[in-house]
């Protein structure tokens, strides 16, 4: 992932965390799907749980950022 690049405007984020989140988002939520049912049977509940965690933390972080901006 050495050529991963990004433009971030606003508060400081940890770029390594962002790179990992972006990578997880791509490999878990996107891409060609041939056999969805096999994905679930292999990955079991862990895969779904991890996917939800990424989404929930993203939304919470977004709310937190806006809260900070309003109190500034």
């Amino acid at each position: 992932m050495s050529d991963f690049d990004q433009i971030i405007v606003g508060e400081e984020w940890d770029s390594s965390d962002l790179s990992l989140l972006e990578t997880l988002d791509h490999v878990l939520n996107r891409g060609l799907v041939i056999a969805g049912e096999i994905t679930i049977s292999v990955a079991d509940i862990d895969l779904i749980f991890i996917g939800l965690n990424v989404l929930v933390s993203s939304v919470e972080t977004a709310h937190e950022v806006l809260r900070k901006r309003e109190t500034e």
């Binding site: 791509h26 060609l32 056999a35 709310h63």
Partner: protein, 239 residues
């Protein structure tokens, strides 16, 4: 024998220095009806963070060496006959998608903004209503929410077209409203050689909207443009 699959690749006869795949397994190149498939032999595994990263690393490595690739979503394990059958049935669609994505990379824009112009409430929910009315009101609310999201997507697409012009070869936009904010994501298909132009134009566009927060990332392998939606989406409900 089961295969953990990473991507389809166009015109690839070998892979230089491939990274290790999931569970540390070697990555193999199979040719099925002239289409290269990158895969590892597996008996199944419980995924860890390292496996997600390994999947991404293999796809990225192939992306750098092939003219065009279709990355798989994490977790696709197939028998070889199943894979051969899929390629044989979808060969033309795979080739058409290779042509669409050839020479291009995916760029992502994430946006967070304050929610404005939200759809107005339809009914005073303090009033008691029967189950039938409640059902119809919920459907109506859902429909209006969809309309609102479609309108926001259209606005964003128009804005990107104004700012990027012919740079974007393809685009997907998702809008997720919550109570107070909008989170939007745009995926753009950009020719690899024009990514510096894209970055410059996006940097200029971002400056024009200080009320929004942006993150632009890429270049990525074209994960968001890899699905063969017409032939597959309706069968399995893949988005």
């Amino acid at each position: 024998m089961k295969l953990y699959t990473y991507c389809f690749a166009e015109s690839l006869n070998g892979l230089n220095n491939p990274p290790r795949g999931v569970s540390g397994a070697p990555v193999r190149l199979l040719k099925i009806d002239g289409i290269a498939v990158l895969a590892s032999i597996t008996n199944g595994f419980r995924p860890t963070q390292n496996d997600f990263i390994a999947h991404a690393a293999v796809v990225r490595s192939v992306f750098k060496q092939a003219k065009s690739i279709l990355p798989f979503r994490f977790g696709q394990i197939l028998t070889e006959p199943h894979l051969r059958n899929y390629v044989s049935r979808h060969r033309q669609a795979i080739k058409a998608n290779f042509a669409h994505l050839r020479g291009c990379a995916e760029m992502n824009v994430r946006m967070i903004g304050t929610r404005e112009n939200a759809p107005p409430p339809i009914v005073n929910t303090d009033k008691p209503v029967g189950p039938g009315t409640r059902f119809l009101l919920d459907k109506r609310r859902e429909f209006r929410g969809d309309e609102w999201q479609a309108a926001r997507r259209a606005e964003l697409s128009e804005w990107f077209t104004e700012k990027l012009g012919q740079l974007k070869r393809d685009e997907k936009i998702n809008v997720i409203p919550s109570d107070r904010i909008i989170i939007a994501r745009a995926d753009h298909l950009i020719e690899r050689g024009r990514i510096p132009d894209y970055r410059a134009k996006m940097a200029g566009a971002i400056e024009e909207r200080p009320e929004w927060r942006f993150m632009v990332s890429g270049p990525w392998p074209p994960y968001s443009f890899a699905n063969i939606e017409l032939e597959f989406g309706s069968q399995f409900g893949v988005s």
